[in-house]
Structures are given as structure tokens and as C-alpha cells.
Point group: C2
Chain length 471, copies 2
């Protein structure tokens, strides 16, 4: 599988000179992402593409080819796969659609492709996919433009859809601050399936968190076996669609997947220790806290919130998510009381607003430090306000950088407890504060509920891991 | 109550020359928001504030005062209220904290305030609140800076917390495209309570949607009576915190509210036709679709989605939210089929991607028009992709303006069916596309689940209204 994720040579079958064809974007991406292997555009009607020599057929390529990326019309794909086999290509990534998901004609084409690789060492990824990405190697087969080196990080995705490239990957590359390890887009997964990728990611040192989107599972028993081994080592988040009758029908026409009964899948997830998510929003919310924060020792959450309503909502959400509201050390709270104005009483959740009256914006730091140092607190939820820069001279104003600085100073790595931050307020300041906080390693959320849900997932995984280790 | 929301004269008790004091921001806001009434700053140690003559006491103000806004330390508030009574002020909005929510001492101050108004016509709003806002009149008592005229619209809020001003109002003013009618921040609601404001909003022609945040309800029977009357006319969304034991304790120390058992409140909401939401995120998601879109005639949702995975997820979410997947007219779908490339089959949900291959970006328009014109479709969920401007010459690229244009052209007001749009992709393009779509009246969401949840709320309210009308 290293040949697939760290190829030394890649052929783009269907490489194009038209800047907007998939086969052009794929070549252009590899030139921009820092890919250091050899790139062989294949197109019988071109001499050169983006300064690279073009070959009429993959059989004309001089050296070995680890990965061939295929973006040509479906009826021509089986022949191309035969040539790849003849060439000894390791993996053929078939981007094209029009196979099993498109009806009987497509089904035949998919069979023909499989026939071509039968008994050979060549493997097929897809068809009907965006393929592979490895940030570390600067390698991607996606047909969405990528503008530079991709941010490396601990998160790997296994996905069965073009939605990943179409929107989610664009979103991650332009809006998220966690980095990517590997992405495997499996599409119709006529050959390579999720279990093999899971085996690979289990051993992949770059991968610390795994997120999956599936529409159906082929071999349930095999899937559960590897899922359990994987979940014991690394958190696995899974979004499984085709949950309802209407969804199952849609899945059948999308990736030709048989979705199976949802209750059975749900039970399987519980048994294997997979963390099931409802949508991509929840998936990314959890991915980033797993990527950025340690697991908590227990379920006791300390809360510091701007405004009393935030304290009330955070208390509710804490319990509604199965966590406990921490009972911080009384003495330290009384000490906090000495920083408060006379009208305010110390308590937990800590309302930061009164602290602003006495110690200004560093009230955040005071409150956070109390929670960070308290052994009765396993995890921290902070609700902060991002104010418009126009009132930057106000005594309670903290710039996005200062806000992040308070967290860094109050909660060092030695605290070894996870933090989730809800940020609200002025739109531009919220965007900036979220960026600053996440660059400093603190995951941010637009609502208290979502911040608490993220902490709950960390605790859930801690329990999963303990249970799987005992078994 | 018109005196409270449309005051002809406002006194700011505690007006300040320091630009960052609440009593300064309040005066500055009124000068910027287009308020046309008289403004009387009150401060014994100032001659003039922001060019306005300052009065040592409210008793020195020459004319009548409709509203007095009080932002001075709690111990001084009862005396100020006495003077307001003597002056014949209509409403005293007490911003200051340090009353019932702060313990026995504060409780006494709150009692003293109430004693001062007993048997008089003067009413108190608060204490411990951000007070009142009326976009139409350019009137607000908030202590968060507002930079210009507030966007007018159909949405009114009744809230019991400073969080509204602290973050939610800033968020709404800087990030949301629905407009505001009235906001009533009630804080500890020692005198004016939600039921009176609800009575007022029932008759207020500017208010078409009501969103409430409550920590506790005083007179349950009275609340249910007005809630039911209100819900029959206008959708009422309610976020009630203090749901759990920990939340109740926090509510007690925040606004001194007794939250009561959550199951009872839940049952009351169902009986009165209130739509309960889990957090502010859900509240705003629903507020905007109620503000921008009509109610559906039935539960049948037509889906047009970029990518097959979007079709699968939308089908699931449709059923999981209690809606039905529409069965569009077969003939029209076959007609759609003639626009598709040979490998794709027409079906529902409509996958827009294949249409991009044949008719380019206007595939969106083609798909949306089919759903808009079909009598078997009651509501429309669209999942669109916002691409980076760098590939603007690609045949499937649509700019944010073009994207919004496709919706405007395909779904005119004569369609009389609600639309919710999920937008994903490149961050900047997503932000712009959301702005363009919402300026054109189509509410946008970052996930299919949230778009479908919003459509489900419209249908739920349609059913509520029918039920309440029959009763």
C-alpha cells in the first residue's frame, strides 16, 4: 500500500491541456503540492502538458509506474486498465463515473475492469471517486484545485463519495486548522475496500485519528474485526448514510451500495468501539478535538463562561452529554472570590464577566488557570466573546491574539486536560479568534452544545479504549 | 408599551464621558442608530456628553421622559428609581447587576426598587439585562456598540440574559441577514415579564417571528394562555435552559430563576404549540427560514444536490426529520433525463453533477425549476457547492452571484414553496454565496442536516397552526 500513498511515479491517463479538465487539474495539483515523484501525463493527442512530456499510451512511459490515475469516459476505462496491467502498474485510481452506480451497462464495464486485473498484482481504487491524498508526500489525485502544499497533520479520512473532494476537502483546505495525513476515496470500491485501508492506517505512524464516510459495508465480519483492532489504538469516527429506506435507495444509485439495516450497523459500531456521527459538521467538530487535545482522565468538566446564561447552558449541555459538572476546589474558588467585585459571588461554572470589571480581559486567564490547576477538573469548556476591534480601548477588550494568549498561558501542556472553546460575537473577530485559538491548538466551536459534544466524544473514546483493552 | 419601544424621550442615568463605560456606549449608540427622540444624559459630574447637555439628576430634565436607562452600581439604583417615579418616567430599564441573582443583599435592593414603583404607573425592565431594542425606531439600550442603523425585519426576541447582547446580538448584527423587529431583554424580570411582552408582540404588526430564551417561567398558567394565542398567529421558537439539575442551580444564581421540571415545560410547549430548540444555533437556523420563506403545504421535500453522497444524506435527513421524500412527476424527470449525459440516469433526489457536464453551471437552474414547478413537491432542499474563484473559467463554475441568480430565476415567489440551501466548499466562496443567497431571500446552512431541520420546523409549525385553529 505504500506504493499507493507514497508513489515514486504517477501516470495521469486522460491528462489534458484544457485548464479545467480533471486531467489537467490533477497534473497541475501535483506540480503545486510539492510532489517529488515522477509525473507522466498520458494523452495520444498532446506532446506536452504543463511543461511535462506527454505519452500516447501508458505502455510508452519509460520507467515503472506506481499509480495510474484514470479520468476518461467509462467505456474506455477497461481497455486502459488492461494496459496498466500490462505495464505492471501498482494501483489504478479510476476517477470516472458511469459504472455500477449507473445501471446494467455500467455494471458490465465495472466487471470488465475487474476481469482485467484478475490474477495480477494490479489493484483498482474506485471507480467513481476522487482517489488518494497524502499530505506528507504532496500527493493527491483529486480533480479539485489545490493551491499549494497541504497542511500535514494526524487526521486520515476514508470516504466513499465525491462529496469529499467536492466540498469537504475544499472546506478542510480553506477553513480548517487541523492537518491531514492520508485520504482514501473509495467510490464504488470494486476492488480495494475500506478494510484494507483500515489495516494500513492502523500501522501508519502519521495517522492518529480516522474519520470515515460509508454508504455500505461489504464484508461485515471482516469490517468489524479490523474496526475493533483499529479503535483500540486510534479514535475512529464514522458517518454512515443510507440509514433510512429513502437513503438506502439513493445509496444504491450513488455507489451501488447495499446499505443494510441501520440498527445492525449501530450495534456493530457499539461493539467495535466506533464513534458514530450524524453529519460532516459533527465529524469535523470531533476530528479537530481529537487532533488537537489529549483524552481526559474522567468526566468532570470545569466551565468558564462569559455571561451567566453561558454558565446555565453549559451546565445543561454538560449533563445532557453524559458528563459531570466538576466541583472545583473550594479554597481556590474563594481565592477567585477575592478578584471579584463585591456584588458577585464565586462559584462554578465561573462567570468571567465580573472578573472583567476588576482585572480586565485577563479575567479569562484567571478563571482558566483555576480550572487547569484543579485536580477535580478533568476537562475544560470555555465560552468566550470576540469583540469588534472598534472598542479595542475598552478595559474588557481582548484582541484575538490576546484571547489565544490567555489560553496558552493558563493551560500549558502539563495540564494534560482537554479544552474546547465556544467563541461568539462580532463575525470578523470570531473568525480571527477561532483562527488564533486553533493555531495555538485549542479547538473552537460556534456553540456551547457543540463544544461540549466534542469533550463528550473524547471521554467516550477514553472509555472505549479502556473497554477494548480489558477485552 | 409603545412608550417602551417607541419612546419620544430617553434619559441615560449613569451616562459617562469615558468612551468605554456602558453609559457612554448607550448614548453613542442612540446617536448612530438613527433614533429620533430626545436623549438626556444624566450625570452630576458632567456638563456635556457627546455634544448633548447633561443633567445632574433626572428631576432636572426639562420635558417628559418615556424611558430611563440605568447603569449605575446596584446600591444606588433604588434611589434612582424613586426619582424616576417622581419624574413620571414610563419605563425604567435597569441594566445593572447585583440584585436577586447576587444573594440576600441584592434581593433587598431588588425589593427596594419594587417598593419604589408600587402603586405608580412606572414600570421596571430588568434588572440585570441589556434591555430594549426596536430596529424600526433606531432605539436600543444595549451597552454593546452598534455602528449604524439596525437592519429592520420580522424577527423579535424575548430574552432573559446578557448573552444576547454580549454575543448573540453582535453576531446577528454582523453575520445574519434577517432583520430585527423588537428585542426585549428581561433579565431578572422583577416587574415586566415575558407574558406582557408576548401580549404586545401578538399585536405588533412588525413582528412575524418570535424567538425566546428563558431560564424560568413565573406564572405558568398565564404563560401558557398567551403562548397558545401567540403560536396560533406567529411561530414562537423557545430555548429554555435550566433543563438539568446542574443547569437549574446555575440559573438560580444567574437570574434568580426557578427553572422547574423540564418534562413539565416540554409538555407545556407541546400543548401551546411552541417550537422548542436546543441551542442558539438551532434558534437562528429556524428564525431565518421563518423570516424568509413561506410555510409548505405538505411534508414532501424535493432535493437537488451536488454529488450523489449529498442525495443519500439528504434522503436520510428528510426521513429522520419526519418529512417525506417527494415523488416528482415522472414525465418531467424523463425530460430532465434528456439533459443528462448518457451514463447518468434521471431520478430523485436530483444529482446536479451530471447536469454540469452537459449544461454547465445552469444545471442548478434546470434541476430547481423541475422541483419548483412540480405539484408533488411541497418544499425544496438544495445542496450547492461554492468553488474557489481561481477556477472561474471552468465550465461548471458558478460565481456566488450566479448561484443566487439560478435560485431567483428557477423559484419565483409564485412557487409558494419554501427552500433551504446547504452551501459547502471553499471558505471565502461559501461565505459570499451564503450572503448572496440570503440577500435574495434563500436561507443557507452549512450542513444538509441543518437545512432539512429548518424545513421540518416550517412543516411542524404549519401543523401546529392547523391544530390550534381547529381547537
Amino acid at each position: 500500500m505504500d506504493r499507493l500513498f507514497y508513489p515514486e511515479s504517477v501516470a495521469i491517463i486522460g491528462a489534458s491541456r484544457s485548464p479545467h479538465k480533471f486531467g489537467h487539474i490533477q497534473v497541475a495539483n501535483l506540480l503545486r503540492t510539492g510532489f517529488r515523484g515522477r509525473i507522466y501525463p498520458v494523452n495520444p493527442r498532446a506532446e506536452e502538458i504543463l511543461g511535462l512530456r506527454c505519452y500516447p499510451s501508458i505502455l510508452d512511459v519509460p520507467g515503472q509506474v506506481d499509480v495510474a490515475v484514470v479520468s476518461i469516459p467509462a467505456p474506455k476505462v477497461p481497455r486502459a486498465v488492461e494496459e496498466c496491467v500490462e505495464k505492471g502498474v501498482g494501483f489504478v485510481v479510476v476517477i470516472s463515473s458511469g459504472f455500477r452506480e449507473a445501471g446494467p451497462e455500467g455494471e458490465k464495464l465495472q466487471e470488465a475492469m475487474l476481469e482485467a486485473i484478475r490474477g495480477t498484482e494490479t489493484r483498482i481504487v474506485g471507480p467513481n471517486t476522487t482517489g488518494i491524498l497524502n499530505a506528507e508526500a504532496g500527493f493527491t489525485t483529486t480533480f479539485m484545485p489545490v493551491w499549494g502544499p497541504m497542511r500535514e497533520g494526524p487526521v486520515s479520512f476514508i470516504v466513499q463519495t465525491g462529496l469529499f473532494a467536492g466540498t469537504l476537502l475544499l472546506h478542510i483546505l480553506t477553513a480548517e486548522r487541523f492537518g491531514l495525513a492520508k485520504v482514501a476515496g473509495l467510490g464504488n470500491k470494486c476492488d480495494l475496500d475500506e478494510t484494507e485501508v483500515m489495516e494500513y492506517l492502523l500501522e501508519d505512524p502519521a495517522t492518529e485519528v480516522i474519520a470515515m464516510y460509508m454508504e455500505g459495508v461489504g464484508d461485515g465480519r471482516k469490517f468489524m474485526g479490523i474496526a475493533r483492532r483499529l479503535a483500540k489504538e486510534k479514535p475512529v469516527l464514522i458517518l454512515k448514510s443510507g440509514r433510512t429506506e429513502a437513503g438506502m435507495r439513493a445509496a444504491l444509485s450513488h455507489t451501488g451500495s447495499l446499505a443494510g439495516r441501520d440498527e445492525i450497523f449501530e450495534a456493530a459500531c457499539r461493539q467495535c468501539g466506533l464513534i458514530r456521527v450524524r453529519d460532516f459538521e459533527e465529524m469535523l467538530d470531533l476530528v479537530k478535538i481529537f487532533a488537537m487535545q489529549p483524552l481526559p482522565d474522567g468526566p468532570r468538566v470545569g466551565v468558564a463562561s462569559y455571561t451567566g446564561a453561558g454558565c446555565v447552558i453549559a451546565s445543561d449541555e454538560c449533563l445532557l452529554h453524559g458528563l459531570q459538572l466538576a466541583e472545583p476546589n473550594e479554597e481556590r474558588l474563594l481565592e477567585l472570590g477575592r478578584s471579584l467585585p463585591p456584588w458577585a459571588r464565586p462559584g462554578h461554572p465561573i462567570d468571567i464577566e465580573p472578573l472583567h470589571e476588576t482585572v480586565g480581559p485577563s479575567g479569562y486567564e484567571v478563571a482558566l488557570r483555576i480550572l487547569a490547576e484543579d485536580p477535580n477538573v478533568d476537562a475544560i469548556m470555555a465560552n468566550v466573546m470576540a469583540l469588534p476591534v472598534e472598542i479595542k480601548d475598552a478595559p474588557f477588550y481582548a484582541s484575538p491574539e490576546e484571547l489565544a494568549g490567555f489560553f496558552v498561558k493558563a493551560i500549558g501542556p502539563e495540564a494534560r486536560k482537554p479544552v474546547a472553546v465556544c467563541v461568539g460575537g462580532d463575525k470578523n473577530s470570531v473568525d480571527e479568534a477561532m483562527r488564533e485559538l486553533e493555531e495555538a491548538g485549542f479547538p473552537t466551536y460556534p456553540s456551547i452544545r457543540r463544544a461540549m459534544r466534542a469533550l463528550a466524544a473524547l471521554y467516550k473514546y477514553k472509555c472505549i479504549r479502556e473497554k477494548l483493552s480489558r477485552a
